[in-house]
Symmetry: C2
Subunit: 166 residues, 2 copies
Amino acid sequence: MTRTSLNHFHCSMARTADIIGDKWSLLILRDVFLGSKTFSQFQKNLGVARNILSDRLDKLVRNEILERRRTRPGVERYSYHFTDRGSELVPVLIAMMQWGDRWIFGEGKEPLELNDQKTGRPIQLIKVLSADGKPLANDEMSASPGSGADSSILTSFHGKRSKVSD
Amino acid sequence: MTRTSLNHFHCSMARTADIIGDKWSLLILRDVFLGSKTFSQFQKNLGVARNILSDRLDKLVRNEILERRRTRPGVERYSYHFTDRGSELVPVLIAMMQWGDRWIFGEGKEPLELNDQKTGRPIQLIKVLSADGKPLANDEMSASPGSGADSSILTSFHGKRSKVSD
DNA sequence: TGATTTGGTTTTTTAACGCAACTAAAATAC
DNA sequence: GTATTTTAGTTGCGTTAAAAAACCAAATCA
């Protein structure tokens, strides 16, 4: 019996979490964002077990988050890069970083600062904005079934569950 | 041999991932955001095993993401709510949802739409913005050691690792 | 009064994790 | 020209956490 997959949830969060919702995948993606490219770099930076790293890279490649490129023809030397799909996960990563900056390390103690390369100034805090660009608090939002919704979306997004080998 | 904790990484992503970087925690938080409050509601909506749910709720409470309130004095009836700390994770959740909307379900097939309650219009796509409010692509950002950085932050953020029972 | 709901805990099984050792080819050092 | 190191993994094994199901006790509903 394999672990529970979230594949059949009709829910974007669940499906996204199924792909990147584990510690090592998230850290690998962070590492890619910061410039790491190779198996050894990830291994050195993260200290993750090699089989786990192998498994996660595979999964990220299969899900087209990362692309594996051969760096020299005919030789087993590879590098990993974001696909378009993968690079659009960066806001997720940055939102997580910023939360940790604020609530774990605290103002003025951020381990890492992200800057606009052109101006050198720090990027903005990631926020939820209304259509006209105003920050929205959580209780100023409402959820409604989207165009692709099935009937029971708001009362339950518990879809069928499945066993997968992944 | 216990699982590796990311507690000693001097990295906001790692530390945040250590708290919410697993499927069920993320789904519980989504569920809270959408209005669920009780153990039974989470269990019904998510279909998660009760012991796992119990464990995750506990962890989220211990980490002050959620607050457990007794709903009737002297009786075992509880409800779970975001703390301030927890509610600031919502941008992370929404960024994940939006990624799934786009890359898993596809434009026009979103299971759920989030709206500005006042106007009824959908919220904006979450983006990384420069100080002057312009969207930044990934290669237009640079990382530099923050005010709380230790010396080796960019070459390696592999801190000491520890075994924890958590 | 008997069934159901609520909020869990306990028990058992199984899959995932972590570690160390191994492989095999290429690159570098001596 | 041989030896060591680096790269990119795979294999095997023991441990641990997750999943499923059963159980529990108090409160509430029918």
